[in-house]
Amino acid sequence: MRRHLLLAAVIVLASACAGEELRPGPEGGTVVIGQVGDAQDLLPPFHSDIAGRIVAELVFDPLAELGPSLNVVGDSAFAPRLARSWRWSPDSLTITFALDPEARWHDGRPVRAQDVAFAYRTLKDPANAAPRAGDLANVDSVVAIDSLTASFHFARRYAEQFYHATRVVPLPSHRLDSIAPGQSLRTHREALAPVGSGRFRFVSWAREVAIDLAAVPDHYRGRAKLDRVILTKVDAVPGLAQVVAGEIDVWEPLASHEVPATSASEHVRVVTGPGYLYSFLGLNARDPQDTLRPHPLFGDRALRRALTMAVDRDAVRRAAMDSLAFPGLGPFVRAQTTADTTIEQIPFDRTVAEALLDSLGWTARERDGTRRRGAQRLAFTILFPSPALPRMRAAVALQEQLRQVGVSVTIRGLDPRALGPAVQSGRFDAVAWTWQTAPSPTALRGSWMSRSIPGAGATNYWAYSNPAFDRAVTDGIAALDLETRRASLRRAYQLIVDDAPAIWLFEARNAAAVHRRFDTPPWRSDAWWLTLGDWTIAPDQRLARDARPATP
């Protein structure tokens, strides 16, 4: 036994002492980013998760990058990247990008206009099932004028032309064009070990363990100050322990229950900023038994409003997220340029809510206090994705609050893969849901506009429909200036809040734990990793791991 202890002590000591030589100067260091999920895809057209997005956006430069104002109307908020400059045609139907002649792929080949056209074709190819192909619905073609000039031709003028053009992230055609027609690029070996154009290059990917990136020494925008970026997959419990122990440098998003332990750690500090997720209880307007009929409860606007009025949403927010959330105001977040915090909300008033329910005929009571109207009980089921702890807490709080006005709520957590088909097919009463917003408000088309409108309502699982709301959203998206857009969307937000197709619960704040040794630029909550190239570590703060180079 004594010998075993001795051996363990030797291993511990030797492992701890295995250090490397540290490099003085402003450049150098490694950042270890903890992620609860591994990346699915690393190429820009395909990524659909946060880890994949981080890698794709560090390894690949876009033509131009949206700045922190997140204004997607026009091009004023964009900074040049692979495109050194751009110009609009007089009719605004063509944008021509002039590429930076110094820009190189990580294999040394120059970035050329053909790579822009290739990326466009990749996004449009149905075989690739690219998630954001819909952004290019109004792009007629992308043409390489010469090796350093690429033109985007649009079918019509609209506010987000430039934003959509920048969604076409150039891909190295010389490495990827060998794929057979009709075959998906997703499984191409180059898609899994991408050669990009960003300030960090891909080094290795150990599935479900880590993705390793290294700074490109001679990058056209200047070398990143950090040497190395490691994204490592770790489950929540050991992940938090590693953050507190200082083994992980960035842990994001930080859950509310993780904040106390993180704040007490000597190794990390907590950074907060605006969030980009809003959570709500979606009330299905369709009957789960027959989706062509209205829902027996939620088909009634007055009942939806009464239920909203019965809920103390601020208490639900606190129960679910503590201080890491703002009250939900509607289908938007405060960080969006089109947000409006003056939208008049349905107030919390339990007495009025009870009177409303009485007036709607829900007067009889069962022994447990549940209201009845004839043979119909005022009862429904809330679904939530079982791993989502805040939404489970919110559902529990809602259950208790609604019980107080005679509404019986059953809560059911489902595996996300079982929840998806149930919600998409309309076989549910209510669902605790979260939407991630984008800088553009166009996501409203899919998630809240009527399903009967072609190209809209694809993710409007709760089947909300109001032609006046549809018109206001359409006008807002079509507006060519920000003020008109804001005015139309304000009208839309007020309509949807009044209709109460959902109980708006909370808007999560973005919180992250960051190791104290990093000096970081202002925290950009929408995409904090975009500034990673400018993170620095003072030489005297560096750890042994800061000196270990990436090895392919």
Partner: protein
């Protein structure tokens, strides 16, 4: 001997085939599919999932998918893992050695520790220490691996900081000998969590077996011939008492594999256990079937090896065959 081997191999192929076919069908009957999970991004339309389902052939009838799977599997192609974005063969090759390292270490510790402890307990049945250690073994039997793993994670790893809380290597691991030490450092707790139960089980059986041979005639005869006590213990008593323990090994291997699934998950050890959980959660059909092949084949192989070990240890069985 050869006939025995061929017969057992044929049985093994049949068992693995049945397990794989059942897994193939059952995982497809579970709710959802590899592309069913809805994301929180409303711009990712359901059509994208439908397109991916079509592209990878998951919208075909189960029978069509099964025939396609068999055709490819016979060529050594187990399909594409939608969760890991690599072939199933690559996923298994990445993780199987890690599990073998963990399980191999645990089994070695469990066998050596259990046999030594049980042999001592059986050889000295009236010693106070032997009786105490025998009683303490009940705790080892009663505490499930995952509970022990959590206790180790909480104590030596989190509170005392003596061992890493997770993974197989440090995120930024050193090279060379430093890397090897780093690996061993990470191996201690998960291997210990798996081995403790095994030590208790093996020791219990070994003790009983040892008690059974301790007073047999051949032991007394060896002593009468003047064979040194240590040699009597090791060459005569221990070898003859090993048969039940070796038989036991084949039986308990599946439970060790089950324990490894949880222990790997708790310590984020990138092995087959974590892979299986990930595959089932992600409804990664091809990967689930790949794991079923490896899991069932390894259990069948372990049973076969255990039978062969029994034959080695007991010459009477060989002569009967």
């Amino acid at each position: 001997m050869l006939r025995l081997l061929l017969g057992r191999v044929a049985q093994a192929v049949l068992v693995v085939g049945l397990v794989v076919s059942a897994t193939f069908v059952l995982i497809r009957l579970a709710p959802g599919d590899p592309y069913a999970a809805v994301t929180e991004d409303p711009t990712l339309a359901p059509e994208v999932s439908a397109g991916l389902r079509r592209a990878f052939g998951f919208d075909d009838p189960i029978a069509t998918q099964y025939v396609r799977f068999l055709t490819r599997a016979l060529r050594g192609d187990l399909g594409w893992s939608s969760a890991r974005q690599q072939t199933v063969g690559e996923a298994l090759a990445d993780t199987l050695p890690n599990t073998l390292l963990l399980m191999g270490t645990a089994v070695l510790l469990g066998l050596v520790g259990g046999v030594a402890l049980g042999a001592w307990q059986g050889w000295k049945p009236h010693s106070t220490m032997a009786r105490l250690s025998h009683q303490a073994g009940v705790v080892g039997l009663a505490v499930p691996e995952f509970v022990l793993a959590l206790l180790l994670l909480l104590g030596p790893a989190s509170l005392l900081g003596l061992f890493p809380v997770a993974r197989m290597r440090s995120v930024v691991a050193p090279d060379g000998i430093g890397g090897l030490l780093d690996l061993l450092h990470h191996l201690v707790l998960p291997a210990f969590a798996l081995a403790i139960g095994l030590v208790a089980v093996v020791a219990r059986h070994q003790r009983a077996a040892m008690a059974g041979v301790r007073d047999r005639e051949f032991i007394r005869a060896a002593r009468a011939k003047g064979v040194p006590e240590r040699e009597v213990l090791v060459r005569h008593a221990l070898r003859n008492s090993l048969v039940p323990v070796l038989t036991l090994l084949g039986v308990i291997l599946p439970s060790i594999l089950g324990g490894a699934v949880l222990v790997e998950s708790i310590f984020a050890w990138p092995g087959m256990g974590s892979l299986m959980i990930e595959a089932v959660n992600a409804r990664d059909y091809h990967l689930v079937v790949g794991c079923a092949i490896v899991g069932s084949a390894s259990v069948v192989a372990a049973t076969l090896l255990s039978d062969l070990a029994v034959l080695w240890a007991d010459p009477r069985l060989r002569s009967r065959r």
